[in-house]
Symmetry: C2
Subunit: 438 residues, 2 copies
Amino acid sequence: MGKQFLEITEKKEVEATISHIATEVAKARAKTSTSVEKVNVNEALGRIASADIFSALNVPPFNRAIMDGYAVVASDTFYADENNPASLIINGSIFAGEFPSHAVDKGSCMGISTGAPLPKGANATVKVENTAEYTEVVEGKKLKKVKVYKPVAPGENIMLAGSDIKRGERIVRRGTTLTPRETGVLAACGLNEVLVRKHLTVAIISTGNELIAPGEDLEPAKIYDVNAQTLSDSVRECGCTPHFLGIVSDDIEEISGKLKQSLGSGADVIIVSGGTSAGVGDLLPKVIEELGEIIVHGVDIKPGKPFIFGTIRGKPFFGLPGNPTSALVTFNLFGAPLRRTISGISARNHEEGERRKEKRIKAKAAQRIFSERGRNEYVLVNLVATKKPEEASFLAYPILTGSGAITTLSKADGYIFMEKGKEIIEEGEEVDVELFID
Amino acid sequence: MGKQFLEITEKKEVEATISHIATEVAKARAKTSTSVEKVNVNEALGRIASADIFSALNVPPFNRAIMDGYAVVASDTFYADENNPASLIINGSIFAGEFPSHAVDKGSCMGISTGAPLPKGANATVKVENTAEYTEVVEGKKLKKVKVYKPVAPGENIMLAGSDIKRGERIVRRGTTLTPRETGVLAACGLNEVLVRKHLTVAIISTGNELIAPGEDLEPAKIYDVNAQTLSDSVRECGCTPHFLGIVSDDIEEISGKLKQSLGSGADVIIVSGGTSAGVGDLLPKVIEELGEIIVHGVDIKPGKPFIFGTIRGKPFFGLPGNPTSALVTFNLFGAPLRRTISGISARNHEEGERRKEKRIKAKAAQRIFSERGRNEYVLVNLVATKKPEEASFLAYPILTGSGAITTLSKADGYIFMEKGKEIIEEGEEVDVELFID
C-alpha cells in the first residue's frame, strides 16, 4: 500500500531555501505597521526593539554629587593637606531629591549627599572622609565650619548633567533583544513604553485519524497527540506565540479547511505534523499544491526524511513527520532558525547571544585592568567577539564610566572577578567573564 | 555627614549564609501545600515538577505497526526469498486509528499502515518494499494476494504495548524543569494537567527621595528610578514573579509600612534597593532591626559593599545599594542563586542546565555509534556529566529506543550529526552535540 514519491533534497539546500523565503517574508512584514506593537517596559523583557530608541533627556538631568561630603568651589581646597587644611563655612546642606535653594560662594560650602544636585557655584565634592566639622565662635555667634584635608580638582566626585546619556543619544539599537540592562536604560530615560516587534504567531495543526487530545478518554486504536504539545512549547522557546488549531483526520477537505482557518487567523507561519510520508494517499502534499507551493518534499536526513517546506499565500509552511521525535528534530533544524530572520533580531545580537548562553565564558583582556587594593572587585566588561568561535574568542573591555552611570549597565555583558590581592590584569591575559544571565 | 558602620563580611561567608537561610525557607515552603499549583500542560513550559509523575497507561496502548506493509504471522514468511516468495491472502487492510475487526490467520495477512494496531494473530509487519501484490483467480473468484520476498521474525517492525512507557512508570522526576520533551511525554500519557511549584514571588521596593517612576514628569533634583525595572526583569529572568510595591522616600515610617505590606502580600523574598549605605541616617538597617534580623551588613566586594542580607518574619531580605550597577551586580551574585534552592529545582537538573546553556557542546561518545549508510543521520543522545567542568566533560549515550518511541524525546538532550559517509563513531571519540534549545 502507498508509494514513495519524495524527491530528496540536500539539507544545506533546504536551509538555504528556507532562509531565502524567511528573508522575503521578513521584508514584507517590516513594511506593515501591524508587525509592531507598543508595550509597557514592564512587559518588554526579551522582546525585540522595532526601531532605534533615543533619549529625550540628559542623564543625569543635573550635575550631581557621587559621594557624601561637601559641595565646594574647588579652588578653595587647592594646596590643602593634613597640616594645613582649608577651612570653609558650612552654609546648609542638601539631600538627594532636594533642589538647592542657594549657591555656594568662595570660602563656603554645603553638606551634600550622594545623588543630590550640586548647588550653583560649586564645582566639586570633597569626600566626608577627608574632612572634619567644627564650630567656631565669631563675634559671639556659633559658626559651623569644616576642615578639608585634601584638595579636589574641578569636576571631582561629581557627575555632570548628560555625562551618562546625552539628550538625543541613541540608547537602544533597532533589533536588540531587551534584557534587564536595556529596560533599565529605558527607565533611566523616563520611558515606560517601548515599540517592539510583535511575536510571530505560529499556527500548529496535528493530522492523523489515530490522534486524541490529552485529557480526553483514550478510545481503542487511538493514541494521544504529542506533537501539538512539543511543537507549541518549542515555538514558545523560540519566543513566538503558538496557536494550536486542533487535530484533523486524514481527510483532504478537513486538512484544507484547517489550513484556510490558519491563514484567516493571521498566522505568520504554519506547521502541520503528520501526513507527510508516502502511503495513506499523501494527503498533505496534495492539499499544499492546491493552496500554495511545495518547495521541498524530502530531505536527506534521518530522522525526518519526509519533511515538507513550502508556502501558502506567502506564508512559510512546514510539513513535519508525524513521529514525535522526527517532528521535533526537523522543527529544531529548519523551523527554529526562521524566527531570527522574520522577527528581525539583529544578526550580531543573535549570533553573540547564541555564543553567550553559558553563564561563564573565557575572554582576553583588551587592555590593562586595575583593581582597588584590598577589595574583591567586580569589573564590568563589554565583550567584543573576535572572528573565530574558539576558546577565548571574545575581547573583554572594562567599562570605565563608573558604577554611578546607568549606561554602564547596558554596555556591560558581564563582569570579571578580581580577587583581593589581584591588582592588575595584563592586556591579553585570559579572564573568566561571568555573564549577566541567571 | 553620616558615618560608616558596616561590618564587612567576606563574600564566601555571605554566600554560605544565604544558602543556609534559603535551605531553611525551602524546607518550610515544601511543607505547605500553598507552594504547589496545578496548571494546564500548555502553561507548564519552564515550570518545575513538584512531585514525581507516573503514567496511568501503556504507551503505545496496543501493539502497533511501525512500518507501512502487511501484518503477518511471522512463521508464514520464514525461508522466503526473491526466488521463492511466500504467498499470503490479503484479508482486508487496517489504517491508523482503526480497530481491526478480525484476526489474521496462518496463510493470510492484512494490509497495515504505520501506527495502526496489529490485528490478533499477527506478530510482525512485512515492509511494503519487500512485497508485491497480485491477483489470483481461484474457482472463478478473484483473490487478492501478496508475495513476500523477505522473512520477518516475530516482533519485527512492530512496537509492543507498553514498550515505550509502562503503566505505573515514572515519567518525570520531582524537581525537573519541564522542557518540550517532558511536556511531550506528559501528552503521550494523556495528561493535560500537572502539579508544579508555584513561582516565587519577590517583592521589590525602591527607596530614595530623589526617585520618580518612569512615565511621570521629571521634577527638579529628581531622577528616574532604574532599579525597579532592572530588578523586576532580573527576577523574571530567574523564573520568579516580581511584585513592585513602589517608591518610598527616605522615611522610617514609610519604609516600615511598605515592608509590612510586602509581608502581607505573601512575598517569598523581599528586595529593597537604596538606603543601605552609611549616611542619610541609615534608615533601612534600623527598620530591618525592628522587624527582623540583619545577618550581613557590608561585603568585601566592589561595587556592592553596603549590601544587606537578613530575614523579616522568616522571609529572606535583600538590601541592595541604590546605585543601579551595584544593585544589579549584588542581585546577580546573591539574589539569583536563591531561586534554585527555594524553588526546589533538583541540583543535578540545575547544574547541568547551567552547563548546557550553549547551543552546542563537546562530548565524548560513551559507546560505538553506527549510522545508516548514505544518509545524513541525527543520532539522539543523552548526556551524562563527568566530574569536572572541562571541555568534553559530558559522555554522549545514543538513545536506541528508536524514533517511534515517545520517551526518546525526554531522554534526549540533543543530537549528534553524522554526515553522509560517516558511518561509525568510535567509543571515546569527541563529538559535537547540538542541544535541544533555540
